[in-house]
Amino acid sequence: MHTPTLLTGIQNLCSPQNSAIVAEGLRFGFQTNRGDLAAEFSSAFAPGSVPTEFADLDFVYALEQESRGGLYAAYLESRALVRGASLKDALDSIASDLQHTIASHSRKRLFLHAGVIGWRDRAVLFPGRTWSGKSTLVHALIQAGAVYFSDEFAAIDARGYVHPFARPLCLRSGVGRSAVRPEDEGLKIASSPCRACAIVATEYKMDGVWRPEPLSPGQAALKLLSNTIAVRSDPVKAVRYVGRLVSSATAIASSRGDARVTAPLLLETLDRLLS
């Protein structure tokens, strides 16, 4: 932890506005030279976070609007994240980096790259990197009645429970990205952790068809560890938590086509697994 100091990007500016949050046991500070933006740094950046004092911080982000040209520049400590004309891009960049920092450094939980839904009071994980179609599939599943946990991170605790990390869904299309807040669409969002019932290894393929095959617990563990953010820095924790998770869940694998076509089939499969 360190005492906050003015950061590289805004060190020459007077009266920066400060705010801070605590998430997953980590304290994040935010400094900006735009007073009206200090309030932007809120729980929206990190699901489950709460405001805190700007002191004893683990990480400090900064957002500067340059006096000449009006460009926005975002920083983590002294590292530049992005610089450009779009305020939204700068804020998105901070949010994304902050979420990955939480995933990498969380002391309480293990974070995996996985979409997560709730179905019949159990969690279902879809491990996969970006562009594997997690968000699109999760969106289609929650539109079909599942409960939203996360489109990007599965947060696992020592008991093997999966916690919600319900950030806005990041959906991609031919024209770019859009953030979708499930609550705006009247969709259900998880508020408490639950045990996992299934691990589903699936990836979009243009000619993919949903034909699930069983995956052994060991194979499932390898899939999950291949998507575990802190596996190299804390392999003991990663292997133990993942081992606990696969021991209590059924794992299946299949390619898939369009998410809206796959969603009802997948939920039928889950019903069969749970019955």
């Binding site: 998105d92 990955h100 970006t130 390898l222 575990t228 081992g243 021991s247």
Partner: protein, 155 residues
């Protein structure tokens, strides 16, 4: 003088091991590689204590539904050796081994069950922090050039 082991010896240093009901997951902290040992490989690996001869391990294979065949143990040892999960040992598994197909035919295993029964190790490279950081604000990643050694199956 250090006594040379009678039989194969499993490596223990710098490994994180998680025993699942019928498999073993191993994380190699030196190489940052992860391995899934299937049931028969896991069974054989756990008997690599330096005191148990290859022939004695083979004699125990019926406990996991396999015939007491020496070549099965040798295949598993070769795979374990390639995955750096042996601390060294006799070179008996370096001898020419029958192919997987030859083994399946010789042992009379059904094609469907052979994959589950025969010794196999699935391996993957642990993601680096950069690989793990699947940033939302990046363009679509480039298609990988060719299959690398990151996902190998030793069997």
């Amino acid at each position: 003088m250090k006594k040379s082991p009678l039989g194969p010896l499993a490596r223990k240093e710098d490994l994180t091991i998680e025993d699942l009901p019928s498999e073993t997951v191993v994380y190699d902290r030196t190489r940052n590689r992860m391995h899934c040992l299937n049931r028969s490989t896991s069974f054989i690996w756990k008997r690599c204590n330096g005191d148990t001869k290859v022939e004695e391990i083979a004699a125990q294979l019926p406990e996991v539904g396999l015939p007491a065949d020496l070549d099965l143990v040798r295949r598993a040892l070769k795979a374990l050796d390639r995955a750096h999960l042996l601390a060294g040992g006799p070179a008996s598994f370096d001898a020419a081994l029958p192919s997987r197909r030859q083994l399946v035919q010789r042992l009379g295993l059904a094609a469907g069950t052979a994959a589950a029964l025969l010794p196999a190790i699935t391996s993957a490279v642990a993601p680096t922090p950069a690989m793990a950081k699947s940033k939302d604000d990046h363009d679509k990643p480039k298609k990988p050039k060719k299959a690398k050694k990151s996902d190998l199956r030793f069997d």
